[in-house]
C-alpha cells in the first residue's frame, strides 16, 4: 500500500501551515507593509530566528536521525554567512568607491576602482590587496554558489577523513569541535583574508536597493520562512524515504547496518555534507539580517548551543528542533536583552542578564536527564502516543541509546 508523502507525515502540513500563518501575521503587523505593531528590529529578530530554526533542522537531521553529534555545524553556518557577506561588502563598497571616484575629472580605470575597494575593505587590517578567496566576490551568482560549495566542500573533506577512519561517537563530536575551533582561530588572524576579528560588517545594506530597512527586513523574513519551509520539506522527505530508514538504522546500530551491506560511511558523508549545505544557506540568510559577522560567531560554543536547542526541542523529530531553536533563542534574547524582570530575594536580586546562562545550563542538564524527548514530547502527550513497551533491559529512555548488549561490551 503506497500512501502519499503528506499522508505519512501529517506534521509537515501542519508545520507549513503554521509557518505560513506566522509569516502572514508578522507581515500584517510589521512597519514595512502592515499596521506597524511589530518593530523592524523585532522583525529582524524573528527572521534570524527562522534561520536558526533551519540550521536546527539540519542539526536534527545529522544528530537526531543519523546519530552523529556534530559540534561543527555553526562553522558551516558562519561560512555561509561569510560567503554572502563577501559579495554584499564588495558590491556595496564598489558602489561607494565608484560614486566617490566619479567626482574626479578623469574617469577611473578598472584597476583604480578595484584598488579603491581593496583599500576600503582591507584598510582595517593594514592591507589593500584582495586575497585569493575574494576572487569571485564581484559576482553575485558565483558567490551564491560558494555559499553552498565552500561549506559543502569543507564538510565533504572533513567528513571523508573522519568517517573513513571510523571515528564515531564522542570522538567525532570532539573532532568536529576541534574543526570549529581551528576555523574560528584561523579567521581571527588578520591575514586570513576575511578581515580578522573585525569580520564583515554593514551587511544589512543591500547594494543597489533603495528600499528602507522596514521593507528589506520583511523580504528577508519571507526568504527565511521560504528557506525554512523548503528545508523542512526536504528534510522530512529525506527521513521518510529509504535513505531515512538507512540513517535511522545507522543511528541505532551502525555495525548491523554495515553488515547488511550498506556503505555506512557514504550515507553518513552524504547526510553530513547535505546538512552542512543547509546550515550554510541558513547562515547566508541570517547574517544579512544581523548586519555583521565575525569569527566569534563560529566559536565552538555556538555549535554547542545549537545542540542545546535541538535537545531541548526534542531530537529525532523535525518540528522538535524548530520548536527548540525558536523557543530557546527567543527566550535567550528576552532574558539577555534585559527585558525579563529581576527577581528581588531580599538579600540578593537575581538579574536575568547574569543568571540566564546558569538557568539554561541547568535546565539543559535536566532535559537530558529527565525528558530526553524534549519539548516535542509534549506533542506525544497531546496525541496520546506512547512509546512501545520493550522487553529486556532498557538501559536508557532514548531510542539512540546503546542497548544492553552493546553497553556491556
Amino acid at each position: 500500500m503506497q500512501r502519499s508523502f503528506i499522508a505519512k507525515n501529517p506534521s509537515v502540513l501542519i508545520f507549513l501551515a503554521c509557518l505560513a500563518l506566522f509569516t502572514l501575521i508578522v507581515t500584517v503587523l510589521s512597519e514595512g507593509f502592515g499596521v506597524g505593531v511589530v518593530s523592524t528590529s523585532f522583525v529582524k529578530t524573528l527572521g534570524k530566528t527562522l534561520c536558526l530554526c533551519l540550521v536546527a533542522v539540519a542539526m536534527d537531521l545529522i544528530w537526531g536521525f543519523t546519530g552523529i553529534l556534530s559540534l561543527g555545524h555553526f562553522a558551516f553556518f558562519g561560512l555561509g554567512g561569510y560567503m554572502i557577506g563577501m559579495w554584499l561588502m564588495y558590491e556595496r563598497t564598489r558602489l561607494i568607491v565608484v560614486e566617490s571616484l566619479s567626482q574626479t575629472e578623469i574617469p577611473p580605470t578598472k584597476s583604480e576602482i578595484i584598488d579603491g575597494i581593496g583599500n576600503q575593505i582591507f584598510g582595517v587590517v593594514g592591507s589593500s590587496d584582495f586575497p585569493l578567496i575574494w576572487a569571485f566576490s564581484d559576482s553575485l551568482f558565483l558567490q551564491l554558489a560558494m555559499v553552498v560549495l565552500v561549506p559543502g566542500l569543507l564538510a565533504l573533506v572533513f567528513g571523508w577523513l573522519a568517517f573513513r577512519s571510523r571515528v564515531t561517537g564522542v570522538y567525532l563530536s570532539i573532532l568536529t569541535q576541534a574543526m570549529t575551533l581551528a576555523l574560528a582561530l584561523y579567521l581571527f588572524q588578520n591575514d586570513s583574508g576575511l578581515r580578522g576579528n573585525n569580520g564583515l560588517s554593514g551587511l544589512q545594506n543591500l547594494p543597489g536597493v533603495a528600499a528602507s530597512q522596514d521593507e528589506v527586513s520583511l523580504w528577508f523574513l519571507w526568504a527565511s520562512a521560504l528557506a525554512l519551509g523548503l528545508g523542512y520539506l526536504l528534510a522530512a522527505w529525506v527521513v521518510s524515504g529509504k535513505l531515512g530508514s538507512v540513517i535511522l538504522g545507522i543511528r541505532d546500530n551502525e555495525a548491523r547496518v554495515r553488515f547488511l551491506g550498506y556503505s555506512v560511511e557514504t550515507y553518513k558523508l552524504v547526510v553530513f555534507t547535505f546538512t552542512a549545505c543547509i546550515a550554510a544557506i541558513a547562515g547566508a540568510l541570517y547574517y544579512p539580517q544581523a548586519g555583521i559577522i565575525n569569527p566569534a560567531e563560529i566559536a565552538p560554543i555556538a555549535s554547542i548551543y545549537l545542540a542545546v536547542w535541538v535537545a531541548i526541542g526534542g531530537r529525532g523529530r523535525l518540528y522538535g528542533a524548530v520548536i527548540g531553536a525558536a523557543f530557546v533563542s527567543l527566550l535567550s534574547t528576552w532574558f539577555t536583552g534585559g527585558q525579563a524582570p529581576d527577581i528581588p530575594l531580599g538579600f540578593y536580586t537575581i538579574k536575568w542578564v547574569d543568571w540566564w546562562l546558569v538557568l539554561l545550563g541547568l535546565s539543559f542538564v535536566a532535559v537530558t536527564l529527565f525528558t530526553p524527548k524534549g519539548m516535542g514530547g509534549l506533542v506525544d502527550l497531546l496525541t496520546q502516543r506512547k512509546s512501545p513497551n520493550r522487553h529486556g533491559a532498557n538501559l536508557g529512555p532514548d531510542d539512540g541509546a546503546l542497548r544492553e548488549q552493546e553497553a556491556s561490551q
Binding site: P108, A178, L181, A182, L362, V365, T368, E406
Partner: protein, 651 residues
Amino acid sequence: MIRLYFAGFALLLSCLTATAQDANIQPILQEYQAEIAKSSRKTIGPVIDAIASSGSPHAQLMLETWAAKNIWMRKSDGLFFVGEKTDTKSYLLTDFDSGDVVGSYPKSDLKQLKPNSGVRAMIATALVQFQLMDPDAAKRQDALTSIQRDPGPALLAPLRTSIDSEPDPTLKAQKQRLERLLTIGYDQDTKTRVDAIEDMSGELGVDVRATLNPLVAKTLNVATGDIPTGVNVAATLEPGTDQFSKADAYDLLVAKGMAPALVSSGDMRSALAANIEGGRVGGIPVAQLDTDAARNAAYAALADAGKVPPLITQADMDTALASHVFFETFAEPSAEVTTAATDALKAINLKVGLNQALDLTLDALSLASIYFLAAIGLAITFGVMGVINMAHGEFIMMGAYTGYVVQQIIPDHTLSIIVAIPMAFAVTFAAGVAMERLVIRWLYDRPLETLLATFGISIALQQLAKNIFGTQARPLTAPGWLDGALVVNDVVSISFIRIAIFILALVFLGVFLFIMKRTRLGLETRAVTQNPRMAASMGINPGKVNMLTFGFGSGIAGIAGVAIGLFAKVTSELGNDYIVQSFMTVVVGGVGNIWGTLAGAAMIGFFQKGIEWLNPSNTLAAQTYMIAFIIIFIQFRPRGIIALKGRAVGD
C-alpha cells in the same frame, strides 16, 4: 682627547694618593667663566674636559652640583658657588674649594646655572671616570650600567684605567668585558680591535651582537662608472636578481637624484586632469580615459607637446641601470675589522642557533607539561572510565579560583599555595563526586548525552564564576621564590614557574601510576572499567568506585588549575582555553593509557612550539595548523599513539 683623559687621570691619581689640596677648582672655573655661565653643547666640551682633568679633589662635587642645577653665580664678581635655598628669596652660598659658607644672598644678586640636557649628558660622561673609581661599589656598578646603556669613545680610557684598581672581582670581570666591547667599537688601532673581536667571538651575550652588528651594517650605494676607492665594499649588486630587483635599483637612482622619477599612475592622472582642454586631453575625449592604454596615449601626446615630463620606458630604465654600478658598503671603513666582525658574527650566530634550539626544546617541554597537567584529570575520567566530561575545563577554573580565594585569606604566598593545593583538590573532588552522583551516574550508557549534560554544567559553572568573581582577571600570585628565571645564558632561560610545573607534572604522573597500579582503588577502578558486572559479582561496589575515580580525576584537575592559574590569568574562561587541547591530548595519545597521554602532550607541545618557531608572529595560526594536523593524524592512528590492544579495547 683620549690622551688628555689619560693625562687627567694620571694627575688625578697622583693627587688622590698625595692628598694634595693645591689644585683649587675656582680658578679653572673663572678661566672659562663665560662658557660656564652660558653653557651650550657646542662650546662646553673643552671646559668639562678641563674641569675633569684639573686634578682638583672638588671636580667631582662641582660636576655633580652642576648637573643637579645647584650652582649659582654671584653676579657681582662672577664667582661660582654651591647654592642652597634658605627661604623664598635668598640662597646660602658655599665655596667649592674651602667648603666655607660664603654667606646668604638674595636671589636677585645671583644667577642659577641651568645646563640643558645635552650639556648634562656631557657632564654625566665626564663624571663616569670619577664614578668608576668611587669607593662605593654600588656607584661603580651604576657607572658601568650607564656606560653599557650609552657607550662612547670618551669612556674607553677611564674604563681601562679603572680596571686594575678594581677590588671587586665581579665588577672587575664586568669592566674587562665592557672594555673589550668598547675597544671593538671605538679603539683607534685596527689590530687591537680585531684582537678584541676575536676575543669576543664565542660570546652569546646580546651586548656583543649589539656591538658587532653596527660594524657590519650595510648601506646600499650607487655610483656612475666604477666603484669609488676608499670605501669598504661589502658586495657588488646586479640589478634584476631576486634580492635586488630592477625597480628597487631604479628607485635608488631616483632617490639619489641620478635619474628622473618614474611617472606614477597618480602623477599621470593629475597631469592629465591639469591638461583638459575642451573635454579632451591630448586629443582623446575625457570620457574615454578609463583604461590604462588610453591614458598612456594621452600622456604621450602631452609629453610630445612638451607639457609634461616624458614617460620613462623600460628601455630608459635599463639604460640608466647599465651605466651605474650598485654596491653595498660597510659603515666601518676598515676592511680587516669588518671581516673579523663578520666571521665573529657567523660563529656567534651558529652558537645562538644551537642555544635557541635548546631554548625552544625547553619551551616545548614546558608547554607539554602544561598540556599534560591539564589533561591528566581527563586521562582518568575519559581515558579510564570512558566518561566524557566537558566541564573538565571548569574544574580547572574552579581550582584556580580556589587558589585565588585562599590567597585572599592567607596573604603569605608560599603558605597560601601550600594550603591551596589540597583545598583545590577537596573542592573539585567534592564537585566531581556531586556531579557523578547527580548527573553522570544516570548516563553511563549514553556517552553523547553525558557530553551534552556536562556541557550544560560547564555553561552554568562558567556563568556562575562570572557572577561571583566578575569578568576581570583575578591574580593568583606565585610565591617570591618562584619568580624569576633560570638563566643559562642570554639565549637560554626558563622561568622557575615552568620548572615547577614540569616537576608537578612528573609528580602527577607518579601519583597516577601509583594509584592505578599499586592501590586497591586503582585495581577496583580497572576492574570496573573492564567489566562492571563481573567486578560487582566479585564484591566491588561499582557505583562507589566510579564515584571515587571521577572525584579523583576532578580533584587532579583542580590542582592543575592552581598550577595553571600561577602563570595564566584566572578568568571564568580559563577552562575553555584548555578543554579542546586536553581532549586532543588524550585522544592523540590513546585513550585509556597514561603513557599515551604523556606522549600526546609531548607531541602537541613540541609540534605547537615548532610551528610557532616557523611563524613566530602568529600563535593563532600555530593553533589552527595544530588542530588540522591532529585531524589528519587521527586518520593514520585512529586510536592514538599508544593504542590499547586485545580485550582492553572497549568501544
